[in-house]
C-alpha cells in the first residue's frame, strides 16, 4: 500500500527527514512513533501529497505521491495534526463539501455522510457551525472527513490528541475496526496507544528510522532476559546483597521501599530460586512477578542510544 524509498526533506537548510525507507502492507495498522520534531508530520504530509519531498520517492497504492498526485490522493483520507475547518460552515455543510471534493458519487453522498456522522458520534452537533465546536468534536469531524468515501489508506496525524478519555477509547476502537479493509498509518507520541492499536511500530528520531518491528518484538529486543519484581519485607541492605549474589542476576534496583526490580540474563526463570532465597532468610515475600519491558522504555532507550551515538 505504501512504499517509501530514501525519502528526504529539507526545510531551507534544516533537515527534517533523512533517507527514510519503509513499506506498509495492505490492511496493516502502523504506528509512527517519535518525539516532537522527529519528522513524523513531515513524512505524513508528503504521503498525503501536501508537499513533495526534496529527494526520494513515496508511492501510495502504486501511484507516486508527486508524479501521480491526483490518483494517490484519491486513495487516501488524511487527518492533519491541527484540524482546521471552514469556520462558516456547519458540520453537515462541511462534510457535504468534503464528500464532493473527494469525488464521492452524488447518489451515495447522503448515505456516506450519515455513516461517518454515526461512526464518529457527530449526530448531536451536525447543525452546529464548525467554529463553535469543542476540540474533541473538531478532531472527530477531522476523522469523519478522512473516512468519507472509504479510502483504502488512512493517514492519521495524532488522531486522539485533545480527546477526553472515553472519546479516546471510542476513537481507538473505531480505528481498530477499520483494520482489514483499510490500511492505517498513524503518528502518535502516546505509547500505550501504539501497543494497543498497531501491529507494527516505526520509531523515528531526528528524521531517521531507529527501529521498525512489532511492539512485542521491540520489547523483547531491548529486554534481553527478563525482569522480576519482588516485594519483600526485610532489611533493605541485606536483601539487596542476597539478591545480587544470586547467579544470573545482573542488577537490582529498588525504586521504592521494599520493592526490588531484579534484572536477569538468559532465559532461565529465576523466580523459584529468588522465592526460596527470601523464605530461607526468614523474610516475608509479599509479591513476585516477571515484568516485560514497556514500549516506553524501548522508546527512551532507542532514542537516547541514538542521541548518544550522534553526540
Amino acid at each position: 500500500m505504501i512504499q517509501v524509498h530514501e525519502l528526504t526533506k529539507y526545510y531551507g537548510p534544516t533537515l527534517a527527514i533523512s533517507r527514510l525507507t519503509f513499506e506498509v502492507a495492505k490492511g496493516e495498522i502502523v504506528g509512527f512513533l517519535g518525539p516532537n520534531a522527529a519528522g513524523k508530520t513531515t513524512t505524513l504530509k508528503i504521503l498525503a501529497g501536501f508537499f513533495p519531498p526534496t529527494s526520494g520517492t513515496a508511492r501510495i497504492n502504486g501511484f507516486d505521491c508527486v508524479a501521480a498526485s491526483l490518483p494517490a490522493r484519491r486513495s487516501l483520507g488524511y487527518l492533519p495534526e491541527n484540524v482546521s475547518l471552514y469556520r462558516d460552515l456547519s458540520v453537515l455543510q462541511f462534510l457535504r463539501f468534503a464528500a464532493q471534493a473527494k469525488g464521492v458519487e452524488p447518489k451515495k453522498e447522503t448515505a456516506e455522510i450519515e455513516r461517518v456522522i454515526a461512526d464518529c458520534g457527530l449526530k448531536e452537533v451536525q447543525h452546529t457551525l464548525t467554529a463553535s465546536l469543542s476540540k474533541g468534536f473538531r478532531q472527530r469531524l477531522g476523522l469523519a472527513q478522512a473516512l468519507l468515501g472509504r479510502p483504502p489508506l488512512l493517514i492519521l496525524d495524532e488522531p486522539t490528541i485533545g480527546l477526553d478519555p472515553s472519546q479516546i477509547v471510542e476513537i481507538r476502537q473505531l480505528i481498530k475496526d477499520l483494520a482489514g479493509d483499510h490500511t492505517v498509518i498513524l503518528s502518535t507520541h502516546i505509547l500505550p496507544e501504539v501497543s494497543q492499536l498497531c501491529r507494527r511500530v516505526i520509531i523515528i528520531n531526528r528524521g531517521q528510522i531507529v527501529a521498525s518491528d512489532t511492539p512485542e518484538n521491540l520489547s523483547r529486543q531491548l529486554g534481553q532476559g527478563t525482569r522480576v519484581l519482588l516485594t519483600v519485607n526485610g532489611p533493605e541492605n541485606q536483601v539487596r546483597q542476597v539478591l545480587l549474589s544470586t547467579p544470573g542476576v545482573t542488577d537490582v534496583l529498588s525504586p521504592e521501599n521494599g520493592r526490588y526490580l531484579v534484572e536477569t540474563t538468559g532465559d532461565a526463570d529465576l523466580r523459584p530460586r529468588l522465592a526460596r532465597l527470601v523464605i530461607e532468610n526468614h523474610w516475608d515475600l509479599l509479591e513476585l512477578q516477571t515484568q516485560e519491558f514497556t514500549l516506553e522504555e524501548v522508546f527512551l532507550n532507542l532514542v537516547t542510544e541514538e542521541e548518544a551515538r550522534i553526540s
Binding site: G49, F50, P52, S84, Y86, D88, Q93, A98, A101, G103
Partner: protein, 256 residues
C-alpha cells in the same frame, strides 16, 4: 468538474453566511441608486434646455445621458469593491490552515481556482442583476435602447471578471487578507489609470499603455459596440491572472 462545483458551492455558502456579501451589495446598490438618480436629474435639466435649443435636443437620448455614464461609474464603484470580495478566497485558506485539507483532497489546482473565481463572479452577477432595476424602471416612463444596455452589461460582466481574476491572484500571494486587499486595489487602480496617459500624450507607448487599461476597453461596450478586440482583451486578461494564480499555487509545492 465536480471539484469545481464542490468549491463553488462551498464558497457561495461562505459568501452568504458572512456579512461581506451583504455589505458590499448594499453599498454597491446605494451608490448605484444615487448615481442613477442624479443622472436622471441632470437629464431632466438638459431636457428643459433642449426644449429651447433644437441642436441640443438631437443629443438627448436617455441611453447616452443616463445609462452610459451610470455604467461607467458603476464599473469604478465595483473596482473599489473587488478587493473586498476576493481578499479572503485564497489568503484565508492559508492562514487558517484549511489549505492543508484542501490541497490533500483529490482536486486539481484548476478546480480550486475556477471554483473560487466563478463563485466571486456569480456574486458579482447577482449585484448586476439587481441593477437591472434602473433600466427597467426607466423603461416604465421612457424609451430605452435595450441593445446598448445588454452590451453594457456584457462589458460590466467581463470587466468584473477581469478585476476578480486579478483580485484572486492577489489573494494567492499572501496569507494576510489586508495585504491581499491592498495589493489587489493597487493593481486595479494601476490598470485603470493606465488609460489616462492617453489624454496627456498620444505617443506610441501611451497608446500601448492605454490598450492595457481595463476601463478603456469597457467604454466601447457602454456605447453599445461589442468589439472582438475588447472581448479578447478581457478573456485573455482573466486567463492570464488565473494562470498566474495557478503558478503561485504550484510554487507552494517546490517552495515548502
Amino acid at each position: 468538474m465536480t471539484g469545481v462545483l464542490a468549491i463553488l458551492r462551498k464558497e457561495l455558502i461562505v459568501y452568504f453566511t458572512t456579512p461581506i456579501f451583504y455589505l458590499t451589495g448594499f453599498f454597491f446598490l446605494v451608490l448605484g441608486g444615487y448615481f442613477f438618480y442624479s443622472n436622471i436629474l441632470y437629464y431632466n435639466l438638459l431636457s428643459y434646455q433642449g426644449a429651447q435649443n433644437p441642436h441640443l435636443a438631437s443629443y438627448l437620448t436617455a441611453t447616452q445621458l443616463v445609462f452610459r455614464p451610470l455604467y461607467g461609474t458603476l464599473a469604478v464603484v465595483f473596482l473599489m469593491m473587488v478587493p473586498l470580495l476576493t481578499m479572503r478566497l485564497l489568503a484565508e485558506e492559508k492562514r487558517s490552515g484549511t489549505a492543508e485539507l484542501l490541497f490533500t483532497f483529490p482536486l486539481t489546482d484548476w478546480a480550486v481556482i475556477l471554483g473560487k473565481f466563478l463563485s466571486a463572479l456569480l456574486i458579482y452577477a447577482i449585484f448586476l442583476v439587481l441593477t437591472t432595476l434602473y433600466p427597467l424602471s426607466f423603461a416604465w416612463v421612457g424609451r430605452v435602447d435595450w441593445g446598448v444596455i445588454v452590451s453594457a452589461y456584457l462589458g460590466l460582466l467581463l470587466l468584473g471578471g477581469a478585476c476578480l481574476a486579478l483580485g484572486l491572484f492577489a489573494s494567492s500571494l499572501t496569507e494576510n487578507q489586508i495585504i491581499a486587499a491592498v495589493t489587489a486595489f493597487a493593481l486595479l487602480l494601476l490598470f485603470w489609470l493606465l488609460g489616462w496617459q492617453q489624454e496627456v500624450a498620444s505617443s506610441g507607448s501611451a497608446r500601448f499603455l492605454a490598450a492595457l487599461s481595463t476601463m478603456e476597453h469597457f467604454d466601447t461596450f457602454a456605447r453599445g459596440v461589442i468589439d472582438t478586440k475588447d472581448l479578447i482583451y478581457y478573456l485573455s486578461f482573466i486567463y492570464f491572472f488565473l494562470f498566474l494564480t495557478k503558478r503561485q499555487l504550484e510554487s507552494r509545492r517546490w517552495r515548502a
